[in-house]
């Protein structure tokens, strides 16, 4: 039996290797996506474009402008004559915020210094809130850059555990790795199984002296190897390029990833049992795998931020549990005992897929 599986494996491997362009693409994809997207997916607020509207120049106001100019979080875009002019720039998306000084800026400040509590605010910030991610943050940053004379660091000491530099790659790289892995394993195995049907070679396989299960195992094995190698490449490149740590138990990472890849392959098998041609298989795996995983798997949006119904959906996705577990393992550095819940949840899906694949294969003729 081992030998028959090996022969099917060898045949499939030759198919893959001889289509060298696809092979290169498949191997490069995780590297490219993981490393590029973990730079792209970042919600750090940088380079907030600010312009200043100062009807009457005053040294005190200039001091505040100087603070903005020297702050790396901002990109100072010069002065505008009026709020309307600034808004026009905002409309063409060249400005995030306008800082408007009151014409009586100095006089109002004198009042404040004299302890008078009845004054119009001397500084007004207009923020472009059309971008929900940057809008509020821009206001908060300007406020803390302009407003607080005493810095918070005197009173509060902050410590970021596990990710002291607050690098977003730490959060996103494991997620994107999981996404690319499920994408490759499920799509490739589904398409390769369907290809035999489309080109008619499945008849040859049916008459060959191998059982159906041996054929399937043999055909999936090369994709298991591709999955393992590409995930390993993605992890290694993450470690080298972004300095992503590998703090937890290595054996747990390896075993969990294996389980994850096998589950993804079973998913691909499941999809292939419902399709008759390659493009259909591809489109269906995109719709069934790629979209839900990307949106509900905790890869772009953190699971905690989903609405309640979204969280229920994401609880059903094994990808979400893998992402959670691998983040804990790699970044936080926990051991086996801390990821038991996640492992169990992944294995439920594995068992479910396995049973339904076998059932479907039994009834299929």
């Amino acid at each position: 039996m081992i030998r028959r599986i090996y022969l099917i494996f060898k045949k499939e491997w030759l198919h893959i290797i001889r289509d060298i362009r696809t092979f290169i693409l498949v191997m490069l994809m995780p590297l490219l996506l993981c490393n590029l997207l973990s730079l792209v997916f970042s919600t750090d607020i940088k380079d907030i474009s600010v312009a200043v509207c100062m009807p009457e120049s005053s040294p005190r106001a200039m001091e505040i402008v100087g603070k903005l100019q020297n702050n790396p979080a901002f990109r100072f875009r010069g002065f505008v004559a009026s709020a309307a002019e600034g808004e026009k720039l905002m409309k063409s998306d060249r400005l995030d915020a306008i800082l408007i000084f009151h014409p009586d800026f100095d006089r109002i400040y004198e009042k404040i210094d004299n302890g008078d509590s009845d004054f119009t605010p001397p500084i007004e910030i207009l923020v472009d809130a059309s971008n929900c991610v940057t809008g509020n943050a821009a206001a908060m940053y300007i406020r803390s850059a302009v407003g607080h004379p005493q810095s918070a660091s005197d009173i509060i000491s902050e410590k970021m555990l596990y990710n002291p530099g607050l690098l977003s790659a730490y959060t996103f790289q494991p997620g994107i790795m999981a996404y690319v892995c499920v994408f490759l394993c499920a799509v490739l195995s589904a398409v390769s199984l369907v290809r035999e049907m489309e080109s008619g070679t499945v008849d040859a396989l049916r008459t060959a002296p191998v059982t159906r299960y041996e054929t399937i195992v043999g055909k999936l094995l090369p994709y298991l190897i591709i999955g393992i190698v590409s995930t390993a490449l993605a992890m290694l490149s993450g470690m080298l390029l972004h300095g992503i740590p590998m703090r937890g138990s290595i054996s747990a990472i390896i075993l969990l990833t294996m389980l994850y890849i096998i589950t993804s392959l079973l998913l691909g098998l499941m999809i292939s049992l419902f399709c008759t041609n390659q493009t259909n298989a591809y489109v269906i795996s995109l719709a069934v795998v790629s979209l839900p995983v990307l949106y509900f798997g905790g890869i772009i949006v953190p699971v905690e931020n989903l609405p309640d119904w979204g969280r229920h959906i994401s609880d059903l996705l094994y990808v979400r549990w893998y992402t959670d577990a691998i983040r804990k393992l790699m970044i936080q550095g926990v051991g086996w005992s801390q990821v038991l819940r996640e492992t169990l949840n992944i294995s439920y899906t594995t068992m479910l897929l396995l049973v339904s694949c076998i059932f479907k294969l039994k009834t299929n003729r």
């Binding site: 407003g147 004379p149 949106y295």
Partner: protein, 372 residues
């Protein structure tokens, strides 16, 4: 005239073919609803809930006020009150809490002496967004409570009321408004993979492409027809999105329809041409589809549709200047949310126009009737 007839005939053939594929029809119908009603609702990069463990070693009235201040905040939840840092750390390690606030002993007396000791805030930064925003919220909250306390000791803290803020365009931070342009982009990209990509690969697989190559049609007609089919479907989808958006959320304003149409058309033409280019350089189904999804995923993710463009490293931002999707998102948001007119968006329009023209002509030039 003859070209036009050929073009029409070919487009009709392609449309019929697309409509006969059940997967494509399902995507055409389901996708706008899926994206508008599901995807638009799940995007939220704010901080809803941060679980805090407090270690109050002082036990004074000020420290209790600080704890109460955090309890009253919408975003912060007091999940545990621990007696030692180690206990709290264990909770954080297990993931029960995300943040530990340690108030040192004799904190009240140090505040009374106007030289407050440091409060320690420890965050689990495995999730970067949570780390960054959490630290802002926690320290902001503590500082506000503290400045109230200090005022009672007679220290004037130059208040934050010297600054007034106005949020323009989307003051309630409504993510739906923010996400509609993203929905249009994802639909555009899904269509170009699923329509142009699959129709090219189907023609190659079934051998009908060879037939087309020997037909009396010019290659420019052939390529343009493929693009035009995808474009027509995308217009249909755009109309559906605008219509549902109008019914369900009351957006966009009628005056915005024409600019949206122009912007979306230019982008769609370019991106459809792009998937033809990709299929010109690839052979098998898997190659075409993988390559189209890979490249369009990258374009989409870098467009600012999900995360801000300015959060990317500078060198990526420089590369991103050539990404038409970025201009699509930016200009659609301007039109949708800020009421910008076409005249405000000359830069965006000209880049989109240029990219559509370049991609279209490249698609025609790189198409080869001769097989390799």
């Amino acid at each position: 005239m003859k070209t036009l007839a050929q073009l029409t005939a070919f487009v009709i053939k392609d449309i019929r073919q697309a409509l006969r594929s059940r997967a494509i029809v399902a995507i055409l119908i389901v996708y706008p609803f899926f994206t508008l009603f599901i995807v638009a609702h799940i995007f939220n990069f704010g901080l809803d809930n941060l679980n805090i463990a407090t270690v109050d070693m002082d036990g004074s009235s000020i420290s209790r006020r600080i704890v109460n201040g955090m309890e009253n905040s919408d975003e912060l939840t007091l999940a545990a009150a621990c007696t030692s840092y180690d206990d709290a750390y264990e909770l954080l390690w297990k993931g029960t809490v995300d943040c530990i606030v340690v108030i040192p002993p004799d904190f009240e007396s140090s505040v009374a002496a106007l030289d407050p000791q440091q409060i320690q805030v420890v965050l689990n930064a495995v999730n970067t967004t949570k780390g960054t925003l959490g630290s802002k919220y926690v320290s902001g909250n503590i500082l506000t409570t503290l400045s109230h306390c200090l005022e009672e000791y007679g220290v004037s803290t130059s208040g934050t009321e010297t600054i007034s803020e106005s949020y323009l365009y989307n003051p309630s931070s409504d993510y739906i408004l923010f996400m509609v342009p993203t929905v249009l982009l994802t639909i555009a990209i899904a269509l170009c993979t699923n329509l142009t990509g699959t129709s090219m690969s189907n023609e190659k697989n079934s051998g009908t492409l060879d037939l087309l190559n020997v037909s009396p049609m010019k290659k420019s007609t052939l390529v343009s027809a493929k693009i035009l089919t995808c474009y027509l479907f995308s217009l249909l989808e755009m109309a559906v999105v605008l219509f549902i958006g109008k019914l369900a959320y009351g957006i966009p304003p009628m005056s915005a329809v024409f600019p949206i149409f122009i912007i979306y058309s230019l982008f769609m033409w370019g991106i459809a041409a792009f998937s033809v280019i990709v299929s010109n350089f690839t052979e098998s189904t898997v190659q075409i589809l993988l390559m189209v999804s890979l490249t369009t995923t990258i374009l989409q993710m870098m467009s600012g549709a999900y995360t801000p463009v300015r959060s990317m490293p500078r060198w990526l931002q420089a590369i991103n200047c050539a990404n038409p999707a970025q201009y699509l998102i930016s200009s659609l948001r301007s039109v949708y949310l800020k009421g910008a007119r076409l005249s405000d968006l000359t830069l965006h329009i000209s880049v989109l126009l240029a990219s559509a023209a370049i991609l279209w002509s490249t698609a025609i030039l790189t198409y080869k009737k001769r097989s390799l």
